[in-house]
């Protein structure tokens, strides 16, 4: 067992109970997704005013909803294609809201350098999901690159709780650039491979 799988197993105990409760209460997963986004907007506001610990706590609550919606959909038999689409769109909205909170914070602190770092990280975050979505319309799978949404969210929480948001932004930026580049390279290689095979 790896360290990350052990941590995941510990957190799954309470989350499993919440998932079963949501299924028993017949809460629609699309509602859970929407509630998660609304809570994330509050986290973005807390980031914007520099209340990092509060933002971290709100992010935990928001992403709990975000994490369980898919599982609730699966267990309650309410999974749908629209649900997957709705979830993806709302995820992008939540991501952008958190980054915009930081852009506002750094702008109000007159730190143009970190406004730029945050804006670049935000740009490559959007490109990370776009490259995969577009690639998977051409090839079977494009699941390469380290910096996906769960990693980003956990990093945001670590940055907020320990007041190390600048370091977190650099990590998100650099690894998102590598993820986007990796996805472009992987897609190119798969498509070139097809040409050779044909």
């Amino acid at each position: 067992m790896t360290i990350t799988s052990a941590i995941g197993a510990i957190f799954m105990f309470p989350i499993g109970a919440i998932i079963r409760l949501c299924v028993a209460l017949r809460i629609h997963p699309n509602v859970l997704t929407f509630v998660g986004v609304c809570i994330n907007l509050a986290a973005a506001w807390a980031l914007g005013v520099g209340s990092f610990v509060l933002a971290g706590a709100i992010m935990v609550a928001a992403n709990l909803f975000d994490f369980i919606d898919g599982k609730v959909a699966h267990l309650s038999g309410t999974a749908s294609e629209f649900g997957g689409f709705w979830d993806s769109v709302m995820d992008r909205f939540s991501d952008l809201a958190l980054f915009l909170g930081l852009v506002y914070l750094y702008a109000s602190l007159q730190r143009a350098d970190y406004v730029l770092v945050t804006a670049l990280a935000m740009t490559f975050t959007v490109l990370t999901s776009y490259t995969r979505a577009r690639a998977e319309s051409l090839i079977d799978k494009c699941k390469v690159g380290f910096m996906e949404r769960p990693e980003r969210i956990v990093l945001f929480m670590i940055g907020a709780f320990t007041n190390r948001m600048a370091a977190v932004l650099w990590v998100i930026l650099v690894l998102s650039v590598l993820t986007v580049a990796g996805r472009i390279f992987h897609t190119w290689r798969e498509l070139e491979g097809r040409k050779v095979a044909a």
């Binding site: 602190l109 380290f146 990796g182």
Partner: protein, 70 residues
């Protein structure tokens, strides 16, 4: 001879292959390489002094300063 051209990964020497595997990440979550990457990221986040990065919301040498007694 019509042998298959070796892929980039097959042609790289071992140290360069290690760097390539980190840059072109294909490992799943909850694997040993994933754990090592997480440790490296956390070390960077917590050990890099905020002053070195010009952190707008944190100051000082952080954990590194605590370790070296400053």
């Amino acid at each position: 001879m019509t042998g298959r051209r070796p892929s980039l990964e097959e042609r790289l020497p071992l140290p360069a292959l290690g760097v390539w595997r980190v840059l072109f990440w294909t490992y799943d979550r909850t694997t040993i390489p994933y754990d090592l990457m997480v440790i490296a990221i956390l070390a960077f986040v917590w050990l890099t002094p905020p002053d070195w990065l010009g952190d707008p919301t944190a100051h000082g040498l952080g954990l590194l300063g605590w370790f070296v007694g400053r």
